[in-house]
């Protein structure tokens, strides 16, 4: 795909920044002028985002073309969604317990300990649940997709698929992107409830709160306008994770090292893009649903 080299250059540059590698030392080490490298990186980033946008456009186009690959989408939903469920439940419980403890420490100072379930529900449903789910899935699934597709690319398995009269983009990329978009909201709901349950466990141990009281307080102030937009925004997170990691894996080059790079970059780029997109989406939701405010 066009821009593969620039992509690699840009990727090195960005990964270097993200993992605290001093990019200046790299610039100096190969002796090329700084300005030239900066221009190259800017060009690379434009090409990279261009390539990613084209992938997005192709995924949309494939939605309306046969075959629809329902079987493979379901298989990917199982791989991406179902197999991530234990991770999400465990993380949700832990996050709920920790959030509950921190919230108690803060609210007790103001004599508002009774607000703990409500505060926890708002924190989890509106922001913490969607964001942590997105980051966890970008780690587990993003790396998996990047490595799997990268491995298939460098061992000619993608070429083999094409030679067997199979549209490899549709079979491998489209199905994963759709499965990620379908799974993220469901996993977010699971995360939200696990977090609430974790919060209840902490509260039950500390204050002896009952399940009914805890959940009636938690959901009493929560409206659908708080829950729906925040959960639905994870569809975009799913598109980012599936699209970015598929893009990097599908276009991987350079043997085993290239596969490793694709896996690492899948996690780094999808996490960074997800966090940045979250800022935009929170603002967007606050604009569309003033009551929800993100």
């Amino acid at each position: 795909m066009a821009g593969a080299e620039s992509l690699t250059g840009f990727a090195h540059f960005l990964v270097g920044i993200v993992i605290n590698e001093d990019p200046k030392s790299k610039l100096a080490s190969d002796g090329s002028p700084l300005l030239e490298r900066i221009i190259g990186s800017v060009r690379g980033s434009i090409e990279w985002f261009g390539g990613l946008s084209l992938l997005g456009a192709q995924v949309i186009r494939e939605c309306f073309r046969r075959p629809f690959e329902f079987g493979e989408v379901i298989r990917q939903v199982f791989e991406i969604g179902w197999r991530s469920t234990p991770l999400i439940i465990l993380s949700g419980l832990a996050v709920g317990i920790v959030l509950s403890m921190h919230t108690r420490a803060t609210l007790e100072r103001f004599g508002a300990a009774a607000m703990i379930p409500t505060a926890l529900a708002f924190a989890l449903v509106k922001e913490t649940g969607p964001l942590i789910t997105g980051l966890l899935i970008s780690g587990r699934v993003g790396a998996g997709i990047g490595a799997e597709l990268g491995g298939m690319r460098v061992t000619e398995q993608i070429d083999a698929l094409e030679s067997l009269a199979v549209n490899s983009f549709k079979y491998l990329v489209f199905t994963r992107v759709v499965a990620c978009a379908l799974c993220l909201p469901l996993l977010t709901i699971i995360m939200d409830f696990s977090g609430m349950l974790g919060g209840f466990i902490a509260e039950a141990i500390i204050s002896g709160s009952t399940l009914r009281l805890y959940f009636s307080q938690a959901f009493g102030s929560l409206a659908f306008a708080d829950f729906i937009p925040a959960t639905l925004k994870t569809v975009v997170f799913g598109l980012i994770i599936g699209g970015t990691s598929s893009f990097l894996g599908y276009n991987a080059t350079g043997g085993a090292a290239g596969v490793g790079r694709a896996a690492t970059q899948s996690v780094v780029f999808s996490s960074v893009l997800l966090i940045l997109m979250n800022v935009i989406l929170v603002k967007f939701i606050a604009f569309l649903f003033p009551v929800a405010g993100g």
Binding site: G151, E156, Q157, A160, E162, S163, L164
Partner: protein, 250 residues
């Protein structure tokens, strides 16, 4: 049918292909007649595998046109290429088996995707193709459990599952011992005798002599010499004569 009367299974007309600034194929033209064996020879990095990928539409030429079974495939996307690719099989150098599914599932894959056969018929056809390459008992094994030669035979079984009229083979004897290499050659010869067009890339001269009705020697993006094995032995180019004297297998 004589070779002169036969139609062209593959036509290359003025095909050029570059990667970055490196020209790999330069205005390349050749034809392959139906039911014949065409062997591409040449040193490493001279564009032999690129030529195979152009035939299969895995790469697109920068200039010129590629026709397969009379259809101009230049510029076609994956979807448009589907009917053409159903007529082709491709044995990759590394076999390129799908490593997450069994050997049987690899062979059955194209049948499930591209035919209306029932599960039973697909199983029977898969078993029959695997037996034809001597892997009848390996149906449920994973590709990682197979040796290099067995993997190549499994790749051949997968390429033959749809009974292609054109078989593209990339270095069938690479990395194999002489006996296994000869077994693969026998299998390919058997395929050719069933009127399948073979296009083979190899460095193995004994193999090229067995499989090729016509041989082409690629160098610097052009065909330096083309003809029968005997004609290439008498080529005016020293490089071609030296290459043909090679007894190497691999």
């Amino acid at each position: 049918m004589s070779e002169i009367d036969a139609k062209n299974a593959i036509e290359f007309n003025g095909v050029s292909k570059s990667f970055d600034k490196r020209c790999v194929l330069n205005n390349l033209s050749f034809n392959v007649k139906e039911g014949t064996g065409y062997v591409l020879l040449g040193r490493s990095g001279t564009g032999k595998s690129v030529t195979l990928k152009l035939i299969c539409g895995l790469l697109q030429p920068d200039a010129g046109s590629v026709k397969v079974a009379g259809v101009d495939i230049t510029g076609m996307d994956s979807t448009a290429l589907t009917p053409v690719r159903k007529q082709m099989g491709f044995l990759f150098q590394s076999a390129a088996l799908f490593d997450s599914i069994s050997v049987g599932a690899n062979v059955a894959f194209a049948l499930k995707r591209n035919t209306d056969k029932s599960s039973e018929e697909i199983h029977q056809r898969t078993q029959s193709v695997l037996e034809s390459v001597g892997l009848g008992k390996e149906y449920d094994k994973m590709p990682s459990d197979l040796s290099g030669g067995m993997r190549k035979r499994a790749g051949l079984a997968r390429a033959l599952a749809l009974e292609p009229s054109i078989l593209l083979v990339d270095e069938p004897s690479a990395g194999l011992d002489p006996i296994t290499s000869a077994e693969i050659d026998d299998l390919l010869l058997h395929v050719k005798q069933n009127n399948t067009t073979l296009v083979v890339v190899t460095h193995n001269i004994p193999s090229a002599r067995v499989l090729g009705d016509r041989l082409a020697f690629l160098d610097n993006g052009i065909i330096l010499a083309e003809g029968t094995a005997e004609e290439l032995e008498q080529s005016e180019h020293q490089l071609v004569r030296d290459f043909m004297k090679s007894k190497q297998g691999g």
